[in-house]
């Protein structure tokens, strides 16, 4: 085999003065880093398997453990960064595509952090959310007829999703995440008056009672899709692309397709679930329109249909096409969006920032006079309440959160989702690991997170003197840019701070 | 309602507690030939060895009798009963006491080998508080290390040996059978115990009986079958016990080894119950009535008899023998037919070191007995499997696993909620 040149990424530091030999670390590490050694009569840690997920650190009852980045750097070279060298070692060893999980971790600019919000002073009063009501409700879906000639919609009220706050849980399939994640998301969505998206792969039978808070996906693999599911769901989302891997399909390896996943996806146990890169029946806006209307037919025109695309170069034109194809909601997933597994080269290098995509799409739809025919939902690394407020000011109707929700459930962002050994019971199908996520605790945490954000959003709105989130939508005057060049400001459609 | 209980030990206390669960009012009378409030018989050896103080030998709190409204008559060994008229006389000629329900809880009586019956003043029994008090007095007067010969290598004999050893005496045990504790251990296990005790300094003579004896007022010398001459300053008789019912002399009372009782622990005479070492009640493994002279059994039988005397209809589900006997720091537990090694049984066993032994005896994949020496981790599970006759075919292999689990072994009986005895 020869020597493996890939050095351990992390070092496990055990404070022996605090270690009581309880072996919780041993049984909690699915990567087998820690083991009890009979000869040494102590716990030995094998650093090279450590993925820095912090399960052992958090579970150690005496706080005896900490994980450090391995200090062994290569000689400094601004061009040949450590990661490049290590990746070459890895690929020279394996000959394979480098896989990763979660979102793009490269230091691209985060434009949310380069925009600041306004607040009222003297001439226009701010509003105290503790004294006066502030409305966060939004309705997603078409707000006007497709066009005057369209008979179908002429006198109809269009199907809407009613959200008590402009946040939903984005698509993460059962298979990529555990059933307990779905249970937590579903319960939290119900409690908070919003929706969760089951991703491509259907909805487990245990969650049937939450269908009216569930958005289901029709993706290129069509896994789990059936008329009953479409009818029961609150909305249907056609997934064209995903921010973390635009242009790339999905591959759920057969090992993760146990009985439950197989039943839910309607495929044989143990078979690989491959979602092709494109929908093989969609080559044009017209084809997309056909699928949208096929779904509308199947759901008696009672369910809004969303189309999800990754944020790529021509996103504005694409969005316009989607709107014209009859979608009720356009979902744009930025290049920092999470994933259960993606080739690292794609994740880190394909797609554009969601902030630009959103600004461009909103602008374009307004210019074309069709903004009110479709709602815009953005996703791809919404990290906090101010990101949401900024997104709405840039033109979004609502946001999807995926990574943030998983973090609330305990994810420690080790980016090893694709291994299936998630120690936090999130991105795994191993029953022993799945158990680690108690959906009751999970739902409670999600509800807490959204409740906290709800308060913060109200504070920010109140500060701007706005008493309804609807009034902020597309109100770019509430934003100012910091450290942005002219072109960036122009695309974002905002002024520079001080202007 | 008036309840009369004869005997004042474990079974009697169980009966009082059983009665009081149901009947808080009825009058309870206990008549005992001993002069103490109920004490724990097994604790006499602990008392003698100095491991417990006198106060802690008592089985219940000081105010037990008052709290439970029990009239206790101690030092009465001449009780008379007329079952036809339901009358009890505490002593002949005393006032008649009418009873509604009567319990016989007179336990067992030590069997004394003939050769010890000679009025020797250095021969002792090992059965009652008084017995060990006498031994204690003797030791104190003697002042010097005594050669103590113990006749009988059963549970009582070894407990006596242990306490004498703790008192610093020179102890020799004489056992006629082919190993120590042979009512509960087979040869292999018996040998482990023998080696252990020998290692600690107790002399043991297996397959030996006393062939000759020397001494006038005192037994001074015993000559054993193998020719050994045992010098002795003291002799303790521990040659077994037998159910103590001969004194009753009731013509309609059915007896075998002990007083025969039905599934409600009633004897053949209406209104008269029996419980404890004196009773012969249903035994689970054999499916027959047997005397199972262990304390848990005495308590449970007493308790159930009490409840039934007070008008309940509690069925006695039967017992199995089980024991836990620490000897000089060595844990020995047994349950069921722990000394059985007949041909149609399957033995699973394991030695983990000289004094660490596990043995399981199975018949048709049902556990019928177990012996654990040394490590007794979670042994209650095995006792339960024996008692419930659970087929363990599926997990026979894992029975020796150190990670024995109730879930695994007990799952055969779904929904067990514990404790309906």
């Amino acid at each position: 085999m020869g020597i493996n040149l890939v050095m351990q990424e992390y070092e496990v530091l055990r404070n022996e003065a605090k270690c009581i030999g309880c072996k919780i670390c041993v049984n909690q590490c699915a990567n087998n880093v820690h083991r009890w050694d009979e000869d040494w009569q102590m716990i030995i840690s094998d650093d090279k398997y450590c993925v820095n997920c912090h399960r052992c650190v958090v579970f150690c009852p005496t706080g005896a453990l900490s994980i450090r980045k391995n200090a062994n750097d290569f000689t400094f070279n601004a061009n040949w960064e450590n990661r490049h060298i290590k990746n070459i070692y890895r690929q020279a060893q394996s000959g394979g595509v480098l896989l990763t999980g979660m979102g793009n971790d490269r230091p691209y600019p985060v434009y949310w952090d380069k925009m600041v919000l306004n607040a009222s002073q003297v001439t226009n009063p701010s509003i105290d959310p503790l004294r006066e009501p502030i409305e966060l409700k939004v309705f997603l879906g078409r707000k006007s007829a497709l066009n005057e000639k369209d008979e179908v919609f002429k006198d109809d009220i269009f199907p809407w999703l009613e959200l008590d706050l402009p946040v939903m849980f984005s698509a993460m399939s059962f298979g990529s995440v555990s059933l307990n994640v779905h249970k937590a998301l579903a319960r939290a969505a119900e409690t908070m008056g919003t929706y969760w998206n089951a991703g491509e792969g259907g909805v487990h039978a245990d969650l049937k009672k939450s269908m009216n808070h569930t958005i289901v996906q029709v993706a290129s693999g069509r896994f789990g899709v059936n008329p009953a599911m479409l009818k029961e769901a609150a909305a249907v989302e056609i997934k064209i692309g995903q921010g973390a891997k635009p242009g790339i399909g999905g591959h759920l390896p057969g090992e993760k397709v146990g009985q439950e996943v197989a039943d839910t996806r309607m495929i044989p146990v143990g078979s690989d679930a491959i979602s092709p890169a494109p929908h093989h029946d969609i080559y044009s806006i017209e084809d997309l329109k056909q699928l949208i209307f096929a779904i509308k037919e199947a759901t008696d025109y009672k369910k809004p249909v969303a189309v999800k695309v990754a944020a790529v170069h021509n996103i504005a034109a694409i969005a316009s096409g989607i709107a014209r194809a009859g979608a009720d909601i356009i979902v744009i997933d930025g290049f920092r969006g999470g994933t259960g597994a993606a080739p690292q080269a794609i994740r880190d290098n394909v797609g554009i920032p969601i902030e630009f995509a959103l600004a461009a799409v909103d602008q374009r739809l307004r210019e074309e006079g069709i903004r009110n025919e479709v709602s815009i939902v953005v996703a791809g690394s919404i990290r906090n309440s101010s990101d949401i407020v900024k997104a709405v000011a840039l033109g979004a109707d609502a946001v999807y959160i995926g990574t943030a929700a998983l973090i609330a459930l305990g994810c420690h962002m080790c980016q090893k989702c694709y291994t299936g050994k998630c120690n936090w019971g999130i991105a795994t199908q191993d029953p022993k690991l799945v158990k680690r996520l108690n959906p009751e605790i999970g739902a409670r945490k999600l509800v807490n997170l959204l409740t906290a954000w709800q308060h913060e959003i109200k504070e920010m709105l109140g500060g701007m003197g706005i008493n309804a989130i609807e009034s902020l939508r597309g109100n770019r005057l509430m934003l100012r840019g910091i450290g942005l060049n002219k072109k960036e400001l122009e695309i974002l459609g905002i002024k520079a701070a001080g202007e | 309602m008036r309840y009369v209980i004869i005997g004042n030990s474990t079974a009697a206390i169980g009966a009082v507690e059983g009665i009081r669960e149901i009947d808080k009012q009825g009058e309870i009378i206990i008549i005992s030939d001993e002069v103490y409030e109920a004490y724990s018989r097994p604790l006499i050896s602990y008392y003698l060895s100095g491991k417990i103080i006198e106060k802690n030998i008592y089985y219940r709190d000081k105010n037990f009798y008052v709290q439970n409204g029990v009239a206790l008559h101690t030092g009465q060994s001449n009780v008379q009963i007329n079952p036809e008229t339901k009358i009890v006389w505490i002593e002949p000629g005393s006032e008649q006491i009418h009873y509604d329900k009567l319990l016989i809880a007179t336990g067992g009586k030590p069997v004394v080998p003939d050769f010890l019956n000679g009025g020797y003043d250095n021969v002792f029994l090992f059965h009652s508080f008084d017995d060990v008090k006498k031994i204690d007095d003797f030791l104190k007067k003697a002042g010097k290390r005594q050669n103590v010969a113990i006749i009988g290598g059963g549970l009582v004999g070894l407990k006596a040996a242990e306490s004498m050893f703790f008192r610093g005496q020179d102890v020799a045990v004489v056992e006629a059978g082919d190993c120590l504790l042979n009512s509960i251990l087979d040869l292999k296990a018996g040998n482990i115990v023998e080696n252990y005790l020998k290692r600690r300094g107790i002399s043991i003579f297996i397959q030996n009986i006393v062939e000759e004896k020397e001494g006038e007022d005192k037994l001074e010398r015993l000559i054993l079958s193998d020719g050994t001459i045992l010098e002795c300053d003291m002799v303790i008789a521990a040659a077994g016990i037998k159910p103590n019912y001969a004194w009753l002399n009731l013509k309609n009372l059915k007896v075998d080894k002990g007083i025969l009782v039905d599934e409600y622990l009633q004897t053949s005479i209406d209104g008269i119950y029996a419980a404890g070492d004196v009773a012969q009640a249903y035994e689970i493994i054999s499916g027959e009535k047997k005397v199972v002279p262990i304390l848990p059994n005495a308590y449970i039988q007493g308790r159930i008899a009490g409840a039934n005397m007070a008008g309940e209809n509690v069925r006695y589900r039967g017992s199995i023998a089980f024991n836990s006997i620490p000897l000089l720091g060595l844990n020995i537990v047994t349950a069921g037919l722990s000394n059985c090694d007949d041909r149609d049984s399957e033995i699973i066993e394991e030695f983990r070191g000289e004094f660490n032994y596990k043995k399981f005896i199975l018949k048709d994949d049902v556990l019928v007995g177990t012996v654990l020496i040394g490590d007794i981790y979670r042994c209650g599970i095995y006792r339960y499997l024996i008692e419930k006759k659970i087929k363990i075919t599926d997990f026979k292999q894992s029975i020796l696993s150190p990670e024995i689990s109730w879930r695994l072994l007990g799952r055969a009986e779904a929904g067990f909620k514990g404790g309906t005895y």
């Binding site: 605090k18 009581i20 030999g21 309880c22 072996k23 919780i24 049984n27 579970f59 009852p61 005496t62 029953p431 022993k432 158990k435 680690r436 108690n438 009751e440 605790i441 | 724990s40 097994p42 604790l43 491991k51 417990i52 802690n56 008592y58 089985y59 304390l295 848990p296 308590y299 449970i300 308790r303 089980f322 024991n323 836990s324 006997i325 620490p326 844990n331 537990v333 349950a335 007794i376 981790y377 979670r378 042994c379 209650g380 599970i381 006792r383 339960y384 008692e387 024995i404 689990s405 109730w406 879930r407 695994l408 007990g410 799952r411 067990f416 909620k417 514990g418 404790g419 309906t420 005895y421």
Partner: protein, 149 residues
């Protein structure tokens, strides 16, 4: 009576309950580190984690209504507290014969020792030092519940 129940779907067998249980019954009930580092005797947990077919369960004394351990106790040291329902050992009276260990059908009583004396070790619902059983208090996955059945 209030007891500890395991919610089987969420017991992950991590052993946190064991650690806190052992500490709660040690010389330093309220200090984990001292309990394990300074106690003269190794702290021993009163509960058991059983594994079966990939599932795990944290289990301890059921404080039975008809407690066989109490009925079998040769010294009268094991008793069921009338008020709380807790099955407890009176350490002063116990002679360490371990008849309770073989009596308990679940095998929930451990043989142990304290200051050189044999003593049975069992769950007492932490009544002596805490309001809440420590296994329940510290279960990271809320898989243990303290309450009525």
């Amino acid at each position: 009576m209030k007891k500890v129940y395991v919610i089987e779907d969420f017991c992950i067998g991590c052993g946190t309950c064991m650690v806190y249980c052992a500490a709660a019954h040690s010389e330093y009930p309220k200090d984990l580190l001292k309990a394990f580092k300074l106690s003269s005797l190794k702290p021993v947990p009163r509960l058991f984690i059983e594994e079966e077919e990939g599932n795990s369960y944290s289990l301890m004394c059921r404080h039975c209504d008809e407690p066989l351990c109490v009925y079998s106790c040769i010294s009268g040291a094991m008793f069921k507290d009338n008020r709380t329902g807790v099955v407890k050992v009176d350490k002063e009276r116990c002679v360490g014969c371990f008849t309770c260990v073989i009596a308990c059908p679940y095998g929930f009583i451990r043989e142990g020792s304290e200051n050189g004396r044999s003593l049975p070790l069992k769950c007492d619902l932490c009544k002596d030092s805490f309001d809440m059983p420590q296994c329940v208090e510290h279960c990271p996955n809320e898989a243990l519940r303290y309450g009525e059945e």
